[in-house]
């Protein structure tokens, strides 16, 4: 099983409930700034983009961590952080291409998405299924079928 968190940008309504439930579950309080994912908005252009940790296979955050606080967890195909080792240097924050690593201003350590140990709460509460936690093969097949549909439509239109 190789499951991953996926985003269908076209389905996001921008409600930010994912941020709300993520921060509540992780911190016992609602504060989107402390959530481990974010909906990036361009309000005036009607754009909402969910930004998540991609749990990279070759993760820049792991590579730059000087104290080996970050490591790959092959069981859940994720990158995990050991808070006891984290020195809060924020190299990983700088290195992450997606802005998915953040320094939590309350605990003063870097926090990141841990996929809720295999049951991501953001997915559970995403009303339109813009966020899904699915098998890699399934996700790729869905993506391919969606692309095929577009090709088909353009062929028929042509």
């Amino acid at each position: 099983m190789y499951k991953m968190l996926t985003v269908d940008y076209s389905k996001c309504t921008g409600c930010r409930l994912c941020e709300v439930v993520c921060s509540a579950k992780k911190n016992g309080s609602v504060n989107p700034d402390r959530a481990r994912l974010a909906i990036v908005k361009w309000e005036q252009a009607c754009v909402d983009m969910p930004m998540i940790c991609q749990q990279c296979e070759s993760a820049p955050c792991i590579m730059v961590c000087p104290v080996k606080a970050l490591s790959a967890d092959e069981r859940l195909n994720r990158v995990v952080i050991n808070q006891d080792l984290c020195i809060g240097c924020r190299f990983c924050v700088a290195a992450c291409p997606f802005g998915a690593m953040s320094l939590d201003s309350t605990i003063r350590k870097v926090v990141k998405c841990d996929l809720c140990d295999g049951e991501p709460i953001c997915v559970k509460f995403c009303e339109t299924k813009a966020l899904q936690y699915e098998e890699a093969g399934t996700a790729s097949a869905k993506k391919m079928r969606a692309a095929a549909r577009k090709v088909l439509e353009s062929m028929r239109a042509g």
């Binding site: 409600c15 409930l17 709300v20 016992g28 402390r34 309000e43 009607c46 909402d48 709460i121």
Partner: protein, 627 residues
């Protein structure tokens, strides 16, 4: 952990002050519209000029705003209204109120007047008054972008006024994002009078949850209830515009001002027509319903500009009322009213009134400044939105709202204006529905449906459901008996939605199977830890409604101000299916309904709360100036 606060800002002196909100006040008023009416009653002296510096403008987040309550993004804005001279009270969705809470502020009280254009910057609890000279004259689409650039922070949330508010249009609204509009009672006009262009907020503070696991489970439960509700499913697909088809078919739309109650070939305005322009639906904060379409203006000068909506209200105000039956035109008009920052309902009603007056020869081209007013003329609608917002020519007269425009045009004109307390009636024709008519007429803020409209009538529930839900038999769509009690019951639940800062579309407006007092009590306990029963919440609702009543009474309102427009008593509906056609409101029965409604609230027959009611609700010492 710091407590959420109320911030007081005096724009004349530049002074700001913050105070915590005592728990006793939460128990009595919760937050949002609840705390808001307390602040208005306590900070506005009777007789205050609504456009003077002494008027207080309040901006409030709900008690559950930005939390694990579904759809908790509502923002409430209050002041003494320049449109009605009574309570100003307006509510919108979006993302501003939660952001204000994350910045540590639940309520803002703004008094005074800045000597030049300014905006307020709420930055994690710090409040700064910033120069807005470069923002003055900008529309509601440009303004937020300029503020974000000024502050160097793209995550800032804003509320602002357009040129309508700057020009003191008495029904100017306040806009957040592209279309969230605190539309009613002219709160944008009050901001304009204070030289206050906008308020920006950004915060990163925690809103603690009392029982996280329980609250998450309960949220899941409520979302399931909402997801399984067929009306909400339809609303997710079509937006509130979904109501247009049904209401047109049963003859319940205002057409050609109030001359017809059904459109001739009105299919062009049915919500399905929006779908080909919609690029998907967007949601307010924490809302599973996502009821607004995103679209690009399909034609004309602003073709290609992004917009959201239209709500059914705007579709009716710019479509049904002036008899404009093409969806594309409504989509253009919707963009324009939001861009200029004027309330679509007041605009649509005033404009349709103007056309009827012109048609009847009560006004002429001299009055209108050369304009030939006619039904269905799309270009004229766009032109008049702009003229009203900038107060040019005839637009200047309409921009003053019903009361003042009537004073200028005379008694003949008065009969044709559909308003209550000086605020325009919405886009529905309610002559066949006594409970709806009564609710609109008794609404504390002037003619409005979102203070009490009993959805149960529209859904044609069997009468025995009334016993179960409310403790009395339902009057049905066209019945009188118990309408007063029904309106009062719904006033309480709507007041609670507004005080909690959640969207009332999740409450009983939509369906009896969704959220009611008991569920809200559960939510409040899980999220805030405060133990309140369903009965306690009903009492909060009563307190809010009664204090609003006291605000209006103190400004000189009386039973006369709860009367329907005269036409409701004299002209029967000309169209519609059997049961809806030939209907008007019978005057004597309406008077009895008013008595029933007052009695249900514990007010006497002049609409004054009795001493016993004041004591029971703990309002006998107001104004008490606790906060």
């Amino acid at each position: 952990m710091r407590q959420q606060e109320i911030a007081y800002v005096n724009l004349s002196t530049g002074e700001t002050e913050k105070k915590p909100i005592p728990e006793t006040m939460r128990r009595k008023y919760l937050g949002g519209r609840g705390i808001d009416v307390y602040l208005l009653y306590n900070h506005i002296t009777p007789g205050t000029d609504p456009l003077g510096p002494e008027n207080a403008l309040t901006v409030s987040a709900g008690f559950l705003g930005g939390t694990l309550a579904p759809s908790s993004g509502r923002c409430h804005i209050g002041a003494k209204s320049p449109l009605t001279g009574l309570i100003g009270s307006s509510n919108m969705g979006g993302f501003f109120a939660p952001e204000m809470r994350f910045a540590g502020i639940d309520h803002l009280v703004v008094t005074g007047k800045a000597d030049h254009p300014v905006y307020l910057w709420i930055n994690n609890g710090d409040i700064e008054i910033r120069d807005a000279s470069k923002l003055w004259g900008k529309d509601t689409v440009e303004t937020p972008a300029l503020i974000r650039s000024d502050l160097g922070d793209e995550e800032v949330k804003t509320i602002c006024i357009g040129v309508g508010g700057e020009n003191l249009v008495r029904f100017a609204n306040v806009i957040s994002g592209l279309k969230n509009a605190a539309g009613r009672t002219g709160m944008g006009c009050v901001m304009g009078s204070k030289n206050l262009k906008a308020i920006a907020a950004r915060g990163g503070q925690d809103l603690p949850v009392a029982y996280t696991e329980e609250a998450l489970r309960y949220l899941e439960h409520l979302l399931k209830l909402m997801r399984e509700n067929s009306l909400l499913q339809e609303q997710s697909r079509l937006g509130t515009a979904m109501f247009q088809m049904m209401m047109d078919l049963i003859g319940k739309v205002r057409n050609r001002n109030l001359q017809r109650n059904q459109l001739a070939d009105g299919q062009g305005l049915y919500a399905e027509n929006i779908l080909k322009f919609s690029s998907g639906t967007a949601a307010c904060f924490g809302c599973p319903v996502h009821c607004r379409h995103r679209y690009q203006v399909p034609e004309g000068e602003y073709k290609g500009q992004w917009a959201e909506g239209p709500e059914w209200t705007t579709l009716g105000a710019l479509g049904s009322e002036p008899d404009c039956r093409r969806m594309e035109a409504v989509l253009v008009g919707n963009y324009l009213v939001n861009k200029y920052g004027v309330d679509s309902l007041d605009f649509g009603s005033m404009y349709s009134w103007a056309i009827e007056l012109y048609e009847k020869g009560i006004t002429n081209e001299t009055t209108t400044g050369g304009l030939k007013l006619e039904w269905g003329n799309e270009q004229l609608i766009y032109e008049m939105i702009q003229r009203v917002a900038t107060r040019q020519g005839f637009g200047d007269l309409l921009a003053d709202g019903p009361k003042r425009a009537i004073e200028k045009l005379g008694e003949n004109a008065a009969y044709y204006n559909i308003h209550v307390k000086g605020m325009s009636w919405l886009h529905t024709d309610d002559r066949m529905a006594p409970s709806h008519a009564l609710g609109v007429a008794t609404a504390s803020r002037g003619a409005d449906h979102l203070r009490s409209r009993p959805g149960s009538d529209a859904h044609m529930l069997p009468p025995d459901q009334g016993e179960k839900l409310f403790g009395f038999a339902l009057p049905g769509m066209t019945g009188y008996e118990n309408s007063g009690k029904l309106v009062r019951w719904h006033e309480l639940i709507y007041a609670i939605s507004d005080a909690l800062g959640v969207c009332k579309f999740q409450a009983l407006y939509m369906s009896p199977s969704v959220v009611s007092f008991a569920e809200y009590a559960q939510l409040v306990r899980r999220v805030t830890g405060m133990e309140l029963s369903a009965a306690d919440l009903m009492a909060v609702g009563e307190r809010i409604c009664t204090l609003e009543r006291m605000f209006n009474n103190r400004e000189g309102a009386s039973r006369d101000d709860d009367m329907l427009p005269e036409r409701y008593f004299t002209e029967p509906t000309p169209l519609g299916p059997e049961g809806m056609k030939g209907k008007l409101i019978e005057r004597d029965k309406y008077e009895r309904l008013l008595d029933e409604y007052y009695a249900a609230h514990g007010w006497d027959n002049s609409g004054l709360p009795t001493g016993e009611t004041l004591a029971r609700l703990g309002l006998d010492k107001e104004p008490s100036r606790v906060i």
